[in-house]
Symmetry: C2
Subunit: 583 residues, 2 copies
């Protein structure tokens, strides 16, 4: 134990500011790894940040701005060594949905609302971190996330199709989007379609094959992988040149246009209270989804090097990143999967890599924005579509279906409701359904009548095994903790069992699987005991766990129990059925 | 197995119409017991039904009407042999609260709304019964019911105080009721107060002492008990005579007044859609509370004679009773505790006792109503107050406090919110809080590192016992089923444990307390396995339960598991740490 007060206060500080821990030991070897990784991530992040800003309905520079200060904030507060934050697909979709109800994309009011959303989300994340409420994200169970992410991917892909087709079609749900696309289809712009489909095919091929092909040609696997990942940069360069060279803009190809050169503007987000209250619920959902995605990526990467991420500290770091995005003209950010993996694989050792990435993006914002003028929106849409279609993972649904119909129904309902009614409705309905089904399932626990395996001290379910029982003694094993939702079910089971057995004298509850008994279940046990006593039957317990016994010890139930508490079920049967059991 | 189709269809019919089962075997001995019990219950039910109608804000005859046809309906459908249905304290309070927001007490619209509420509640109960949704009532856990019933008792007692004081003061919550009473206090009517306090003192004394005193004087215990229970009839007779003899009505004593002589009017309730939608939520809450109270009384009495009540059939029977009340000018009804106990103790053998009680009430409605003209409202209020104050049970709260602070906070919040914000808000908030706390509690399961008890094959928590462990093998026991709310917590625990142990080679999860693993937990286990493998550590399982193993058997998780599944934890340690464990 370290009892030096100065040292322990330093430990407390490094808990809240992990930069103090890794910054102190920073050396040139780490610097080399971080700088190389930052270079590669910057190359990857420029098209991604432009594309996700477009997906969120914001001007392209918002994406660049969201990839500067938020990265610095994460470097100071983050507990993961390699997580790369910035705009991401699902959070950008949620941003577009939330703000689309309040303002028209492209207007200053729309951008302002995005900043308020980032600020609210940052505030919620910070608050959750300070109150250590990271466990709230647990309610996004695996089936809910699987359904939600797949539906989001489909919604994004369908929504971005308009840029590839060169038409106008808006909507937050499939029933709105699909007819809108269909109606506009005659107005398709052929040069845009050619560029977009070309980019799509190239990006799809390079994602599936390029890395493997390069390795087959004798390139180093690491370098081959990195080149494969930078295919979007190549697609952007080629299509931008094509637009510029052949003046395709004049033929109706939509381009990014003038992007202001320079660093992000620092400004307070709007204090409009009605805007704040309208965005509170979307901000909460955005925070939970962003946090769940980010912490899962961070933990996966940290485990590979036996490092740790602190979920509650991650809340603080993501909160700080979103607040930074809000004050510097960005949009809501989170830890992204693909860029974090690239960061890790390219050899990033510390969050300083994020600082260098931010500097790289700043350099690009100052120097390269004029080059982006002729970048066609179709190319950006193609990078988004290829990225999000990998989120639609049919195998996950098949696995959930094979494992549990219950869980599959949750995943399917979340998927369908998200597609048909929008991201917020789908997510909330999925969480509520998962809770309801969990409660339903645990409200009917498995209760088995047990009998003795002949010649042993073991007891097993009479329906599964050949065991001996006795008319005067009934042994029941409950395979679930007892709480309010299943307490009365146990009453029913015992009433049932007793009504069918006129010779019964003793009921023994084998409590080996009961991890907890709440006050409702205690009341039910008291009720069971009273009813059994009225019927001339004694209630006994066996194999009660230590913590459960500790709590029962001082209760009226145990003081008034007509029967006894046995250490093992065998002792109970030996004491209550001395004549032995019959088959 | 009975394979006679006629016989098995008869069994199906008697399941839905229990009257077919007991009616077939009805004989003169049962008739005698039922008739005596019916006589005593009728004597008790006349004042109760008048008083609860007044509590609900309805004319007194509504209470009598609700004690006729509903009893016949229950006799046909009910699965309890001795439950006595009719108007009850808490349901009448909930009726008054629900309708008080829509109409003025005493008006025809008010009574009409009460009939719609009974119809809706009956429909909901019938539907729940047909869909076998009785388990929904489980969500009213013991702490929620304890807080809600105590608060309802207090609200009723304070609300009825105005009749004892002879003043006017309305309100659904204490913050409205208490100031209203205080403002009207100067207008107190002294003759009313004298009658009311006299009745209160007499009823209180007789409830506590009369039965015991009569037994001390040598009366038969059963008869003494019944006479003690009929004290309200004596109080009514004496105070009615007093009002009539001394013409107290002229001095401002409020009396019941003219009660129409005759049988209930049969009529369709109102089909006003806005009334239906306004009453839907109150009807649902009323149904759940009424069902929970009724089924608990029914099961307690049935168990004494080793009989059964079917919760889902009780839903049908209560539903039919409420529909009957709605079509015959009554108010919502439920199985009452005190009258069912009297029915049982007086020797009722079958639901036919309910039919005779209904006939007794009908006789009273035809013949006795003129005698009720001078009955003072203060006496009725006194019977209600004495009855409901027994619901306020401080000992229950003390027991819950001693057993669990969590559960106590639910009971206290339900109590306070019901008193301060009304019955509906209090009940809903209590249920939501209980759910949230349950999920919070199970989201952080007890995870223990286990070591071997030297010289045995047993493994125990290293923090509680002196056990041996080994640096290369970590044994963890999780004391909870794994599901979405706690899956990620297990990931954190294992990440944590691994990050602290550089020599670790094997992690063994002892699954003896895991009754279920849902798809989220399976995904977490896969994630844990991948992360451990990346860090060069094998994951093993031990003591997996049969049903859990059945489901895991076909999963990719088990096929790809880097380690093994051991039958016992001892076998796992013997195989993985052949060098033995050290202390």
């Amino acid at each position: 134990m370290n009892r030096n007060p100065a040292a322990s206060s330093r430990i407390a500080w490094t808990k809240w500011l992990p930069i103090l821990a890794w910054g102190r030991a920073y050396d040139s070897r780490q610097f080399g790894g971080d700088l190389l990784a930052a270079g590669i991530v910057t190359l990857m992040l420029i098209p991604q940040s432009l594309a996700y800003a477009m997906l969120a309905g914001l001007p392209p520079q918002a994406g660049l701005y969201a990839s500067m200060l938020p990265l610095l904030a994460y470097a100071v507060f983050g507990s993961s060594r390699t997580l790369a934050v910035g705009p991401a697909a699902v959070t950008s979709l949620m941003t577009a949905t939330a703000i689309g109800q309040l303002a028209v994309p492209g207007t200053p009011a729309y951008w302002e609302a995005a900043l308020v959303l980032a600020l609210l989300s940052g505030g919620i994340l910070l608050l959750m971190g300070l109150l250590r409420l990271g466990w709230l994200a647990n309610f996004l169970g695996h089936p809910v996330i699987a359904g939600f992410i797949a539906a989001s991917g489909l919604l994004i892909a369908v929504g971005q199709a308009r840029h590839v087709l060169g038409i106008h079609a808006q909507g937050d749900t499939l029933p709105v989007l699909l007819p809108a696309l269909w109606r506009q289809l005659p107005a398709v712009n052929w040069p845009t379609l050619a560029l977009g489909v070309g980019a799509l095919v190239f990006l799809w091929w390079s994602r599936q094959r390029l890395g493997r092909r390069l390795r087959a040609w004798g390139w180093r696997p690491g370098l081959a992988e990195v080149l494969g990942r930078s295919a979007p940069v190549l697609a952007i360069a080629v299509t931008t040149l094509a637009v510029w060279a052949w003046d395709l803009q004049a033929q109706g190809v939509q381009v990014v246009g003038a992007v202001p050169q320079g660093l992000p503007p620092l400004a307070w987000p709007s204090w409009n209270p009605s805007l704040w209250s309208a965005l509170a619920m979307p901000a909460l959902l955005l925070s939970l989804v962003g946090f769940a995605e980010s912490v899962s990526v961070g933990q996966t990467l940290a485990a590979r090097r036996r490092q740790r991420v602190e979920p509650d500290q991650e809340l603080v770091a993501l909160g700080a990143s979103n607040v930074a995005a809000a004050f510097s003209g960005g949009l809501p950010v989170t830890g992204g999967f693909s860029r974090s993996v690239v960061n890790f694989d390219a050899g990033a050792r510390t969050p300083a890599a994020g600082v260098y990435t931010a500097l790289g993006i700043a350099l690009a914002a100052v120097l390269l924005t004029p080059l982006l003028h002729y970048l066609p929106q179709a190319t950006l849409a193609a990078t988004v579509i290829v990225a999000v279609l990998s989120l639609v993972d049919v195998a996950v649904f098949r696995r959930i279906w094979e494992y549990s119909r219950f869980d599959f129904s949750v995943a399917a309902a979340t998927l369908l409701l998200t597609l048909l009614a929008g991201v917020e409705t789908g997510l909330v309905a999925g969480v509520v359904l998962a809770l309801a089904l969990h409660l339903y399932r645990s409200s009917r626990p498995h209760v088995a009548e047990v009998g003795q395996v002949p010649g042993t001290e073991h007891f097993r379910n009479v329906r599964r095994h050949t065991v001996t029982t006795c008319d005067a003694v009934l042994g029941l094993r409950v395979d679930e903790s007892l709480y309010f939702a299943n307490a009365r079910y146990l009453e029913d089971c015992i009433n049932d069992a007793v009504a069918r057995r006129q010779a019964l004298k003793h009921v023994v509850l084998q409590c080996s699987a009961i991890n907890n008994i709440d006050a409702s279940a205690l009341a039910s046990l008291e009720m069971i005991e009273v009813r059994l006593r009225d019927a001339g039957i004694c209630l006994h317990l066996s194999e009660v766990k230590g913590p459960v016994m500790d709590r029962l010890a001082n209760t009226a139930f145990l003081r008034c129990l007509s029967g006894q508490v046995f250490l093992t079920h065998y002792q109970a049967i030996a004491a209550l059925a001395p004549g032995g059991l019959s088959q």
